[in-house]
Amino acid sequence: MSRADRVACEDVVMFVNAAIASTAQREFRSDAAAQRLSLGFLHEYVLGNYRDLYAATLALDVNDRNAALVVTNLLRTAREASAAQRAVEGRLIAARLRSLPPQRVYGVIRELRRLRINNRRTRAIVRDWVAARPDPAFDAIKYRRSLSVAARHAHLPLPGEVGTVLFDWRRPKRYETPILEAWRRAHYEQRALYELPYTVAEGLAAQHGIDRARFLTGIAPRLTDRERLRLQGTAARHRVESIAMDLATAPLTRLAIHVLSLPRPERARRRDELTGALQAAARRAARRQAGTWGRVVAVLDDSYSAAGSGVKRRRPLAVALATHYLLESLAADYTGLWLHHRGDPLLVHPIGATGLGTRIVDGLEHRPDRLVIVSDGWDNAPPGQAAEVLRVWRSRLDPHQATSVVHLNPVYDADTFDVRRLAAGVATVGVRDAEDVAALVELARFATGSAGFDELRHHLADRVERFLTPEGAAP
């Protein structure tokens, strides 16, 4: 592999790692401004040098914030792309916008308006996306401001009363569309409130001075799954029974975050229920791959830095916990080793220094097929010991590479423009949701230089193909 190719390969893998792990929010060791600045630079750099690959990352599991940023940047610099590139980018953007949550897409549209990007192609993309929304009247209520911005910016024709409710809402005495009528009435009538989406009703309930417990009871049937999960704590505080959910349907990492938000005595009390829910979520995430990974050992970081920051509370620890259950379901024979915690992983708690070295030796002693390390990469007791252990292991004890080692890092390091690495020869990949681990491990071989740039291009082309095919097959 030529040097240029290796650099290109490293750059792209670095960018993908960052785009998966970083949300430009405050992390344990760097603040939000540093994260935003660093991430912004990385986007500019990859966009300028590898435009095709930059667009192709939309087909990977990059997080929503970075996907939105990629879309904005591609549209912003459209004139630098060739016609063929634009065609592929257009399809990628349309496909990704469809999979993004609507508030993110409305965010992109607001950003486009701020940047004064309003060419025919951008308007077409916005128009198609809005046209594909299942219920424009619902959007007009829930994303009221954003939809009106989109409509004005892209000159959208809005169907019937949706236009009226956005731009001339005082005039009609009543609306024909039920949800719009409910919204109109909810301004005067408390009962109509409970027919609206939760976020809209919440503001109006505050205006009406409705007691929180009563409001939550009334709105319970209208909650989305995520809102329901988020409100578990509030519901328990206000003793609202109707919000209590069956945790068995929540996605794995969110469930892990929820579990870690509970006090430890409660976790101990509800051990069977929570463990069952986590295992079920892990089985759903593993799907067909369950039990195919052979002997797996995981070294999981529960040091104090896994507490994350105020805005990403216990996220690294939650990723480690979720990975624990996921690997348990992926592996035929699984051992999970926490740095400090012994016993039930449900009671794990971020504490102490990160001494990965000795724990990795404990893991390697099992002679696993795979060693998975989940850590933020700050190996500090003593610093760099994990790297030494892995180096010696590779050179002296396992020269034939019978054990594959993967380091999953949930934290973006703003200073190095990448997730922090443990050792030179070890593949490090960024991770945000444990559900993606299986796909990320696939990507890991590009991080060590063992696979070439051509392979990376093929891999990305393949992912793009798979990403775009369903919509091509659809009528």
Partner: protein, 398 residues
């Protein structure tokens, strides 16, 4: 009352693996068996909380108030300052004795510009300031009337709060506290800046953030600004000797031992501080609160501080403040003067200098106002002479 001791006995405390952040190196002190019958009183920091942990069985539950700079523990929430650390029984619900503080706008403004006001709250610093506070014990004729009657009043020394030290807030925030950590050695550019020991890991956990509000010497402030980063200890395993997992473990054990000894070496700074002058301040139950002063040796680090020890001399609490070079000089001068009953000639002889040099040193150390003006003037005239004489002679020949 006052007795001399050799350094500080850190028995029972072991230096743990350090963590570095920029120029700051934090070495945790770990205690295998914590002191459970002396606990910190959290009320100073949080009025709503009663105490940190209740320990059963309570043989002698003694709470004490760590020196706090400014805290709202008066009943009417006005700011007040404690007279240093105080030992208190748990049943004692009265407010700790303190002095009400009123802040003028100017002081607050100075603080905003990172100019630090001095709050004479530190028990040890108070001890240092009170060093030879009374002035000359014999009314030698060289001292002014003011010096003889009022002593050194008022003496002022300056320090920096932790908040103004570059990088210290981040270093403390990202430090991963060890489960049985009872203390911390704080190094700036690998110079020992402060040591802090508490009886119990829970207390440490509660008081860890207060390190940021503590008072630090000038050295830490300057070093933290001047040095971008300190080198990390990086272990190196000898891979030629590894043929099995057991060998690898042996190598790790060796690296760990190196690592520990590296830090034990670092922690030596305080232990080698030489002879300390320890003054017991308060005794309660089996615990003694004391403050100590160093030997004011100009060639070594000098730390003042306060300790709480039990009847066996085991350290329960320690807090130190590193004196700057100027502060050491002042302390040195004062202690030498006191040892010679403030006799200028005798002191000069002890210091191996003449009377003029001593007067010069006193004046430069900021104690000039204590000497009679004519003595200072005579010295100044004499120091001018060597420069003026050749000039005058040349003028005469021209």
């Amino acid at each position: 009352m006052t007795n001399a001791g050799d350094g500080i006995d850190l028995t029972g405390l072991t230096a743990g693996p350090a963590q570095t952040w920029g120029a700051i190196r934090l070495v945790p002190l770990l205690r295998a068996s914590p002191v459970t019958d002396l606990r910190l009183h959290a009320r100073l920091y949080d009025p709503d909380e009663l105490s940190v942990v209740h320990v059963e069985p309570r043989t002698a539950y003694v709470s004490y108030i760590p020196h706090s700079f400014v805290a709202t523990w008066t009943t009417d929430a006005t700011p007040a300052a404690a007279y240093g650390t105080q030992l208190r029984a748990p049943a004692d619900t009265r407010a700790p004795s303190g002095i009400r503080l009123t802040f003028r706008r100017r002081l607050a403004r100075r603080e905003a510009r990172q100019r630090l006001r001095f709050l004479p709250l530190h028990l040890a610093l108070e001890g240092y300031l009170a060093l030879q506070f009374g002035g000359p014990s014999i009314a030698w004729q060289e001292w002014t009337h003011h010096a003889v009657t009022c002593g050194l009043s008022p003496r002022v020394e300056a320090g920096y709060t932790g908040a103004s030290i570059a990088g210290l807030d981040d270093a403390l925030r990202v430090f991963e506290i060890h489960p049985d950590q009872c203390g911390m050695m704080l190094y700036a550019a690998d110079a020992l800046a402060a040591a802090f020991v508490v009886p119990h890991p829970d207390d440490y956990r509660a008081l860890h953030p207060t390190l940021l509000q503590d008072l630090y010497g000038e050295l830490l402030f300057h070093y933290a600004h001047l040095y971008p980063a300190v080198p990390e200890f990086s272990p190196r395993l000898d891979d030629t000797r590894v043929a099995s997992i057991a060998d690898l473990r042996a190598q790790l054990t060796r690296a760990d031992a190196d690592w520990k000894s590296f830090h034990a070496g670092l922690a030596d700074g305080l232990l080698a501080a030489g002879r300390l002058t320890v003054t017991p301040v308060h005794r309660m139950g089996r615990f003694t609160l004391a403050r100590f002063l160093p030997a004011f040796d100009l060639d070594t680090d000098n730390h003042i501080g306060e300790t709480i020890t039990d009847e066996a001399g085991r350290l329960a609490y320690l807090k130190t403040f590193r004196l700057s070079a100027a502060q050491t000089r002042r302390g040195h001068l004062l202690s030498q003067l006191a040892a010679n009953d403030w006799d200028l000639d005798a002191t000069a002889a002890t210091l191996g200098a003449d009377r003029n040099a001593l007067v010069q040193r006193l004046d430069r150390a900021g104690f000039g106002h204590l000497l009679r003006p004519d003595i200072i003037d005579a010295w100044r005239r004499r120091t001018r002479e060597p420069r003026t004489k050749p000039l005058a002679r040349r003028g005469g020949t021209a």
